[in-house]
Amino acid sequence: MSNQDFPLIFELSQESRTGYSLPEFDVPETEVDDMIGEAYVRKSEPDLPEVSELQIMRHYTALSKRNHGVDSGFYPLGSCTMKYNPKMNEDVARLTGFSHIHPYQPVESVQGALHLMYDLQESLAAITGMDTVTLQPAAGAHGEWTGLMMIRAYHEARGETNRTKVIVPDSAHGTNPASATVAGFEAVTVKSDERGLVDLQDLKRVVDEQTAALMLTNPNTLGLFEEDIEEMAAIVHEAGGKLYYDGANLNAILGYARPGDMGFDVVHLNLHKTFTGPHGGGGPGSGPVGVTAEFAEYLPAPILTKENDLYVFDYDRPQSIGRVKPYYGNFGINVRAYTYIRTMGPEGLKKVSEYAVINANYMMRRLQEEFNLPFDRHCKHEFILSGKRQKKLGVRTLDMAKRLLDFGYHPPTIYFPINVEEALMIEPTETESKETLDDFIDRMIQIAQEAKNDPEIVQEAPHTTIVSRMDETLAARKPVLRYQKEQ
């Protein structure tokens, strides 16, 4: 550690300093070491820091100041829906009756929690146009895998074990092909056409009797609605395949369109995106899965149902794909999502998508002069710019992203989707004011001008952050993944 370095909590440690207040030890002591056996009694203690409570609080407060969240400033990270995280949701999730209940309590003793879960399932079914919803998956990618395992079980039950391929557009999230592999399928890519939509001819080419499913986000990762969706559904369904909906972009179409009506068979949602479960610095999320009636028997067990006036779990599901997670899903995140849905109602949710889409189109139109716009048509909740004009001037998209940091903004998603050169993927969300959007737009225009007139200021950015660009090559070449005390 050099004196410029911000200390690790381990570097604050002093022997015998304490930060805890354990309950009283009030039972007679037993000779437990003999019971455990010498080999199993730990000899050297784990080297956890020894710090006082104030030291801990100051340490993490300082760390929090070295971090940018939605509450710090605009965070237009495309595909991640970085909207405001309502504080009320946090309070509801912390109510003792929700936060301190055990998953193995008798169901009679947790009817309030089960009522909330049941109502959330119903709400999500209504929002997506699906018949049944499970809350068990922990996150979006987990939901993808869960859905694909159900599709696999469906085909296997019909003896169609030849269906080994899952079709994924070239613009898809990386989790789609990865989930296909983990579920035991082979991922096959379908191309996008010049409109930025799935190329129907190419889809017809790749669909065959081995097709298990097509995975799709709609709107897609370019922020464009796949307007041929009905035809795509027909192509896949006629070949005996199924349609999987990646709900990452649902924020664009709440109350305007439902995956169920588009022909999707299985849908996952990211409650931490559209439904304001906070992103938590990387998680926890929640990834419920909705299905049409013909898939209901394959849902992960148990299923929450209502018998007379009692909510109960049904474990008797012989065709179920089994458990995908211990217990019943990320309940704490589900409570937050439920609170949000109840705050917004049908009218509010529709406004969410309306405003998210207006915001994105407004930004796109104001930025199209200075940046290359690969797909010149109305977008949905997000849009793609290409930095290829700036690249010719020696300024990369990465440089522009770093320059945005100087203005207190989190940059958009960059270099994704992979089918657009020097991509910038911008998702403003509905919770940002016009003033914020205008300022961001002005800064983007300023950066585009700097790229022409003063490229170094962009290339050398950021200039105002607490650290400058990191040596990522060093990190990967000589991995240091934990702290070790200097000898």
Binding site: Y40, D71, H142, E230, G282, G329, T343, I358, T465
Partner: protein
Amino acid sequence: MEFRYLPMTETDKKEMLDVIGVQHSDELFLDIPESIRFNGDLEIKEPKNEFQLMKELTELAEKNVHLKSHTSFLGAGVYDHYIPSIVDHVISRSEFYTAYTPYQPEISQGELQAIFEFQTMICELTGMDVANSSMYDGGTALAEAVNLSAGQTKKKKVLVSKAIHPESLAVIHSYVKGPGVEVVEIDHKDGRTDLEQLEREIDEDTASVVVQYPNFFGQIEPLEQVRAIVDTQKKAMMITSSNPLALGYLTPPGEFGADIVVGDAQVFGIPAQYGGPHCGYFATTKKLMRKVPGRLVGQTVDEEGRRGFVLTLQAREQHIRRDKATSNICSNQALNALASSVAMSSLGKQGLKKMSWMNIQKAAYMKKQLQESGIEVVFDGAFFNEIVVKLDRDVKEFNRMLLDHGIIGGYDLGEVDERLKNCMLVAVTEIRTKEEIDTFVKEVGDLHV
């Protein structure tokens, strides 16, 4: 109805639509074919204002019996422990909870460093070289470990102890279907993994042996002997799932030569919250570093040579490798990992050991008291903070009666194993007082006819 999360005014809207060049926002949705456009109102409840919704949800929460209204002896993978107040204050700092995966290191050093510290603490506890930034939970972390072992050894069989958490076992069965790995369950005997059966089943096709330490019944598995059996096969790995609190007092699996150690850090600063979100951890050896699922944070320097942290070894991950990634995992449980880090920092070296020891002591006291009251404690082996009690009737019925006396009873083992009908898995953590333990013993005695 007002919507306090939506700042757009009618004036804003008009100005913006003008720039876009449309009259009405509906024109922006014309790319949705009319045949599939949704024209009705979503069939969900009408919105409520903040005050009334809070009132309604508070009442709903109050319908639940909870771990603070009753005295709980329920564990079985989810535990009620001392949570320092400071934990919630730290994770409520919204710079942490409203951020996402730290893709931009210059403005994410706080999160990155917090994860780096978490990784270090997990390495310290488990005795392993490398730990990742967290997994969804202990169950899925274990299933990922199983698939990793099959991929790494190119073997298609895993031997999994039936003394692991039954729901983790179920998750493993679901996860192995993709890569087509065969699970052979090794039965338990006297509350621990049947080592004789393990010895019989292990062969050159074995990718790994999976045990839980301490196991689902609270018993301490003899990892030394398990490792010796694993060592009879050159490539096979030893995977353990461990309650990290137990590792404050027990020899860590790393010292017994574990190849992968996973578990759930819920015991550190995370409330039960009906089973999730908790915080899976994943620790392994240097050798397997590049096969780890999920995010890894590494130390590096910036252009001025200052220490800093970045997401690293990303070539393993889905956003780079797509269908060739080591896992499809994208999000993790970063905020809960932060909670656990704060709790572990509060405990520190001494507090952790003390808390771990208190769990063993209080469970030992409970065992002694039960036995002295003539109630059968089923297994004889060494244990951490859970014991198995044999009752004279159905555990569910028993628990209903206990609930009426203000007690949340233990887990019904008859649910997962017929041989353990009428057996209750009882957890005793450091927060249970002598008086509460005595009351429980008395109630159990009184309810026995």
